[in-house]
């Protein structure tokens, strides 16, 4: 693996599993988070922004946080309270930092500025709708050449969760996703094909909570809401897979494929159409589609990362 640090930008719609993803990214020694941007998705934009600040405080971190899109490019926002609670953190109340303010710089500008300061090095991990990323690419076309790659949680080669054809993030903003998938930037898609396999049982969750640190207790407590909503006694750590794919790629399998996003029909709105198994292929193979995960190793690694987070003074 070497000692190379991944320079990371996180774009998230915090979100219980976004929060878990940030915890893992913060704990992973090989990742250096240069900034965080937020947007409307799992809950409203003002909540996701503040949730990032709350997590900063929980972790004793000082990551710069930038507010982004308040709604998808074309459609209205449709929050997912059922899986994330009304506050986005599964109903767990975390305090804001004692002092905070909303920066004047927006998500797309901050992302571009940071990418420009590290040309060819910044890796963007996006775990919400792709609205911020699409806006950044539209407002700053040079960004296309500056990013090393984009790793997203979103989409599905087979099936969906929001609708039979589509996964929540891509369904939420299919137009943004289309822009990102066709941008020509190396793209990794952690869709439902892998994230449905990246689950924690109630026992596994409780075991992390038993580490006793504030971060570990928050992890276990906040993820109870999606666990209960699943009705299966398990919780899928969708967004965490995108972070772990960067820190621990050896846990995953996948395949390069042509992937396109459907934007022109209601029934298949936001479907990520892949050519993995069809006779006819798309003209270009534009995404690495992650399909499998070593679940026991995933659970071990996530547990280890979350439990490694030191208690901080609040």
């Amino acid at each position: 693996m070497g000692t190379e640090k991944h320079l990371i930008w996180l774009d998230c719609d915090f979100g219980t599993d976004d929060a878990a993803a940030l915890l893992c990214a913060h704990g992973a020694a090989s990742l250096e988070i240069l900034g965080i941007s937020t947007l409307a998705g799992n809950v409203e934009a003002h909540k996701t922004f503040r949730n990032a600040l709350r997590l900063n405080r929980l972790l004793g971190a000082d990551y710069p946080v930038y507010p982004g899109a308040e709604a998808p490019l074309v459609y209205p926002a449709e929050p997912g309270y059922r899986f994330h609670g009304e506050n986005g953190l599964g109903g767990v109340e975390l305090p804001l930092p004692d002092r905070w303010e909303t920066p004047a710089e927006k998500a797309w500008d901050a992302l571009y500025r940071t990418a420009a300061a590290h040309p060819g090095a910044l890796e963007l991990i996006a775990t919400g709708p792709l609205t911020n990323v699409a806006l950044a690419l539209n407002l700053h076309p040079e960004l296309q050449k500056l990013l090393r790659r984009i790793v997203i949680m979103g989409g599905a080669a087979v099936g969906g969760n929001k609708t039979p054809a589509a996964e929540f993030n891509i369904y939420s903003d299919p137009h943004a996703a289309k822009i990102v998938f066709e941008a020509g930037i190396p793209l990794t898609m952690c869709g439902l094909d892998v994230t449905n396999k990246a689950w924690f049982s109630e026992t596994e969750l409780a075991r992390v909570g038993a580490c006793g640190t504030p971060a570990a207790r928050f992890f276990a407590e906040s993820l109870k809401t999606p666990l209960q909503a699943s009705g299966q006694g398990t919780v899928r750590l969708h967004d965490v897979t995108a972070v772990l794919f960067v820190s621990n790629p050896e846990l995953f399998t996948g395949q390069l494929a042509g992937v396109r996003v459907e934007t022109r029909s209601a029934l298949t709105r936001g479907k990520t159409v892949t050519d993995l198994w069809s006779d006819q292929k798309f003209p270009s193979r534009n995404a690495f589609v992650v399909l499998g995960v070593d679940r026991p190793a995933f659970v071990r690694r996530v547990s280890e990362l979350v439990c490694s987070l030191k208690a901080v003074e609040n």
Binding site: A165, E262, V273, Q280
Partner: protein, 313 residues
């Protein structure tokens, strides 16, 4: 359990795998073929109709044969000469048609045999659903007389002709939409099962070793189908269309699940996709289809061999 034999109308666009569907249907004491109707799909309507007549002559299948629509409801025909050849059924030499073509259209013949049959009739459809949709539109009063529609088409996980769509549904998505929303019971054998109905070289050798004309011709059809699919990376020849007959003859060989399925008629990339509500979707959807998802491949090959053997020398 269904009372056997099941009266069926076979609507097809032969095609090598349609031919084997007809072979199974004729051979099985569990099916009684009332009529054969043709659709444009694998080849033009003239060619698929000529092929149907040649196949029925070869098999001694003496049901009336009627020609269907020359094009899909809305779009233009799409054919598959790369798979089935210029004739739509390249490979072994076949007899000239001995059986006449009905003066009725496919829809008229279907209406006639369904009206005259003393029990509800099953439609086996292994081409685009144009004729079946037109029949449902033209004769809504006969809907209750249809037992079910057993079709080869679609695929919940992916397509073949495009990344999202399977050939039969892609050729006429509007017709498929009409059929899937009709309320008539649907048994859907899509790529989810048909890509598992793979015939290997060893299976073809076994069919050839049975002996007799039907054995020889079937083996040569399969040779043709196998070589094409091998060339594009398949491990064997997927016998798509025979699944739609085999699942009626030996349902116990198949994994069948209730499913909500809708047809995409629009979209930039998804036209012709069969969108199924697989487990894990947020909302609940009422099943409108029995979806065939898997099969006992060995049992399927045995059924095929028994069918070929039943024709004798």
């Amino acid at each position: 359990m269904e009372p056997f034999p099941i009266p069926v109308v076979c609507d097809c666009d032969p095609g090598h795998d349609d031919a084997i569907m007809l072979l199974l249907a004729k051979a099985s004491p569990r099916l009684r073929v009332l009529a054969v109707t043709t659709s444009c799909g694998n080849q033009t309507i003239e060619k698929t109709t000529w092929n149907a007549r040649r196949i029925c002559t070869l098999l001694g299948l003496e049901a009336p044969i009627a020609m269907g629509a020359a094009k899909p409801l809305c779009g233009q025909p799409i054919t598959a000469p790369n798979i089935h050849g210029q004739s739509g059924l390249d490979g072994p030499r076949l007899p000239e048609p001995r059986l006449p073509l009905s003066a009725l259209t496919a829809v008229e013949l279907t209406a006639k045999v369904i009206s005259e049959c003393s029990e509800p009739v099953t439609i086996i459809s292994t081409g685009p659903l144009t004729n079946t949709a037109c029949f449902l539109l033209a004769h809504p009063e006969l809907k209750p007389r249809i037992r079910q529609i057993s079709l080869m088409g679609g695929g919940l996980a992916h397509g073949n002709w495009t990344p999202a769509a399977e050939f039969n549904i892609l050729v006429d998505p509007e017709a498929a939409d009409i059929v899937f929303r009709s309320g008539v019971p649907i048994l859907m054998s899509g790529l989810d099962v048909t890509l598992k109905a793979l015939i290997t070289e060893a299976d073809i050798a076994r069919i050839r070793a049975i002996g007799g004309e039907i054995s020889r011709v079937t083996a040569e059809w399969l040779d043709y189908f196998y070589v094409f699919h091998k060339g594009i990376g398949y491990a064997g020849a997927p016998l798509h269309d025979p699944c739609a007959a085999a699942v009626l003859i030996r349902p116990e060989l198949f994994d069948i699940r209730p499913m909500h399925v809708e047809i995409e008629t629009g979209g930039e990339f998804c036209r012709g996709a069969t969108v199924g509500a697989l487990p894990g979707v947020e909302d609940e959807y009422a099943p409108n289809v029995r979806c065939v998802m898997g099969l006992d491949r060995e049992g399927f090959v045995d059924l095929l061999c028994e069918a070929v053997a039943s024709y004798g020398y």
